[in-house]
Subunit: 361 residues, 4 copies
């Protein structure tokens, strides 16, 4: 079948005819026709040959790319009860090691051995291919109202996991406001890409006061989203004066130089969520910062990946935002390409673009 | 009465006759005769004039030092039911702002306004004086079996808070072992002072495998404690090879240069507890470390102070350790001085000493 | 102004002209024009003179009825920043005692003294009047997409509280499914009134398998809702064979005779939520039931009232359901009356009706 | 070897020579010489033929009795690192089904399938035999200071589980006191057997105010324990006037008639722990009680069994109580018998006795 593939040791991605062994659908298996696949920074890293953990499944010399999938059920095995032909589904990305306790209970996002595989990333083919077969338990059913917007579920799922973890961890003290809500809390998001936008929307939906930071003014789409959703956009190239004292700061950039200067804005009992990953930067911290972390009871939370529950939560938020914000979600999809255009779409990130989606059907 | 005092802007501590207004004992008040007061790094900082937050209570030009107190109840107000004459008590150090939600529910260790006072530190006289009056609700009754060892309750209370917070936060994933215990978890403690020893004992009591790190070999007392309690002492001046992969690392030093090299020893879902505070150091972090924090779901927990509940927990652990380890706790008290010797005891930290106690009775 | 009032010791409710002292709007105060008020079983109990806790506010010989409110902001005090003229708002019902810890932190739904007041129920006028003044902190802003459907927020808020509590309590063990979701869990709801419907929708939204029980077949509206939302309706007058083994059973009836026979359907680690309250029934329990509760680690959760956070959550679910289920929410409002028709609307509960709403504008 | 056995369908227990297949010790296995075994109500039920779930292991026509074990390590397999010859150990009773999520993570006390086995009870030989072989992961190492008192660890472990669950569940609201402790909370224990005594001591250790109830005056030993530990003993045959309003009530009796009258003593946000199991009683509940459960946010917690962590916690409490209460724990052991006296010791529960122990060495 046709698929977008990468090969170990080679840069670039090709749209090729590949052979992938797949037997007849049976038991808990489901055959899915691919409809949409999103592209993200991890894909870019793989195609650029920069992610050393990217690797094909055993027995293959190529890896099918793509982990932000959306498909339609074509056929179900005889033991599948939760899905039927025609259902839209989003596949979970990471598959557990089967050994550690977290993987045994479906929380492979907290895999302890590191022996997991991830579709389209390490050890398992991704979703940039005409069709694929998966176990029903890794497929999340998409509610009727969402349609192709469900392609956003995967990136959002990771935000859900981080947000849920934050709310859980912050129950170490009383962190809600005098009226039991989060209306008095300030959330500051570093970055303005799709992950940053989802963080902003999630905090807004939970009634935090949200500020988004970038080192430039918002572009037209960012301007529209922030106005519709109701958060503030601050250009930090002019300094941090406009950044409010914050109860939570989310870094989606991965650059220490982006979040370290903001530590001074963190309030007592505050949290710093680390979400972004990049390579090659160094930055300085001082013992005074550490003293602040101690004296202020600050937590730093590194967060990666998501469980199936987080996908389901993400789909609920997508429905909610579609109802509340009209076409804001759709406008986050700034580019739609054909499968054969994948390489250029991955490599040429257009300025001001937010999300690029591949249309397979 | 006689008290050990410090004055703003002046280095040193004097043992002087001071006048402190105290009316007749009434209502919930309790008069306490001081028996023992411990000395710690914070006292050293204050006497050295290095802690800019140290300040006398309103209406005084001096501050009575001392926050690790132990006393005997001399007289109780007419509404006190929980204490009676002769009871040993340990006073809580921090008193809440009365405004924020955490202070309203007795969790002033999570005060959000910063407007708390702390006995012997900021805005409230400490316990290095012949006697003091306090509200019953700030006094923790000492079980009969402990006696003067209860002077260790205050430093230990802060360890309890950090430990409880760790266990709570780590419930974000399955962190216990296959058999429901913590027997498979490695805890590594940076430092070997009293706080480090208490962390080591607390983790051991909860059946973690404990390693203590310092840049030298253990002295005789440290050697004895580690052998009796059952943990390993590693001299890191020879490198980190002997430091195990760790599920939790506790820094009691405050130096970024001490804990940053150990980040590579942190396991997935691990935690770094920041407890120590010093000034004046800078250190480098890289975006690779940040990537590890993200990919490994690592949390960093800054932790300060303790609630009354933590004092009670600390007293239980002291009883337990006294029962299990014989005179180990007593041997942690490496020096006992008279009140008039306080300044020299504070300033001349003897090499290899662990805890210095002032004997008031 | 015109209001629907009840008087202590008298049955019935009258639509009368009343005088209610209200000074000029200042500080955190907000003046609200009433738009919609829902009627529920508590109103029925009050009008029937059956609820002995119903009472007027101090200084009044009557009580304005109504606690399921929805209004439009007419005027805001000079310190109000969270609301502006024209905003739709839902008022919180219970106001805390100001003394216990839960009330001090905005969780008056867990008031420990019992000295709270409740709008339209005890000690505080309700919302069945032309307009009312309230503090901003008790007003929940309604998202634009909901409009008058927000009148359902109050009953739903109580369901949110119970659901959140369930999910929290069930974290005592692993209660999620092998894939981290709740897709393997069966929730059984006793009753088919508005509260039962909201429970069913909430469990469905969280992907539980839901069964609704009544002692009769569903009427046309119930049939429509269950079909659209996707749950099963079982008529238990024919026995309990069709009731599945359940992980959670919610009683909305208050009759021990309704839920006691269902205890045999409760699975290990299961939960029984008690939500309904009625008077005058007796029922038998056996020590075998108690043995099952013990051996099966079963919890029973009595749950009442809701915090402001629960109102906000409810509004999000209403938006979600409106997006997913079309006019299902609207069809739950089976009757709309004018204020002057309140008494008959309260007393003559039409067969098969779900929710009656008073239209004020 | 010599063992105390029961046979299906036969009443009574015999001290017999039996053959139990045991290969050479290897891998994670440990051979243990039995030192002490406690007797409890479950043993009584089995010997009386009243517990229908009691059954031999597969391949045997008898069951070795005894689940409250204490032994000394005789030999360890080549992969055992946590134990060595001479160590005292307490074996865990329940062994998981290997299928459900809770069993997969070492929380077989929350087994969901019911397919667990329990040593000396169902499907697995117990510890009333000269020696036994077990996997290291089911053995809890006993601290040096405890010695034979560790035979109390098993019954106490179940109390630990229930207590931990209570504290966890009660975090649904603020349940601690104004000073962060539990000093303002009243715990009432129904019954005065060993489980009741352990509940009383556990609540006392956590600074609750404890009242123990029985329908008679305390006997001499109960009197001594309550005086030493510091709780009140109330004879309820004279009515419930002396029973305080309670934040938590623990039923260790299993009789609905014992705890139902006490529901009126439960405070808002209170908890009723169900721990006892008996057969054959009926009792009446009213819809008013159910209304109270709802309006007061009351939880009922059925609790059974314990995880290995709870055994470790229990051993810590035993050390603590030994240190604090002198010979109180020892005085709870009111009778010591030889293995050959087991049947009469099980069947003739002496009046006023608390715990009977079999001495094997």
């Amino acid at each position: 079948m046709k698929a977008v593939i990468v090969k170990p040791g080679e840069k670039g991605a090709t749209f090729s005819d590949v052979e992938i062994k797949e037997d007849q659908i049976k038991g808990e298996e489901v055959k899915i026709k691919t409809l949409r696949v999103g592209i993200c920074g991890t894909d870019r890293g793989i195609v650029n040959g920069k992610l050393d953990f990217a690797r094909p499944p055993a027995g293959y010399n190529f890896l099918v790319l793509g982990h932000e999938g959306l498909g339609r059920v074509e056929e179900v095995g005889d033991k599948v009860t939760s899905l039927k032909e025609g259902d839209l589904v989003v596949p979970v990305v990471r598959r557990g090691c089967g050994k550690c306790l977290n993987c045994k209970i479906g929380r492979q996002d907290f895999c302890e051995t590191g022996e997991f595989v991830e579709a389209g990333i390490r050890g398992m083919h991704g979703f940039m291919r005409e069709e694929f077969v998966d176990d029903a338990k890794y497929l999340v059913k998409v509610p009727r109202d969402l349609g192709e917007l469900a392609v956003l579920a995967e990136p959002l799922s990771n935000v859900m996991k981080a947000f849920d973890e934050l709310i859980f961890i912050q129950k170490r003290s009383i962190w809600h406001c005098e009226d039991s809500s989060y209306g008095c809390r300030n959330a500051t998001i570093i970055g303005s890409g799709p992950i940053a936008q989802f963080f902003a929307m999630t905090f807004e939906a939970n009634r935090f006061n949200v500020t988004m930071l970038n080192r430039r003014d918002p572009n037209e789409i960012e301007e529209k989203i922030s106005r519709t959703v109701g958060y503030k956009f601050v250009n930090t190239s002019n300094g941090l004066d406009e950044v409010p004292e914050s109860d939570v700061i989310v870094d989606t950039s991965g650059y220490p130089s982006a979040f370290i200067p903001l530590i001074k804005k963190l309030k007592r009992n505050g949290a710093l969520i680390l979400f972004g990953t990049v390579g090659g930067e160094k930055s300085e911290i001082t013992s005074d910062m550490i003293t602040k972390f101690v004296e202020y009871n600050i937590v730093v939370i590194g967060s990666v990946n998501a469980s199936k529950l987080n996908f389901e939560e993400g789909l609920s938020y997508l429905s909610l935002w579609k109802a509340r914000y009209g076409d804001v979600l759709r406008s986050m999809i700034t580019k739609v390409v054909k499968p054969e255009e994948t390489q250029s779409a991955v490599l040429d990130k257009a300025k001001g673009s937010i999300k690029t989606i591949i249309e397979w059907d």
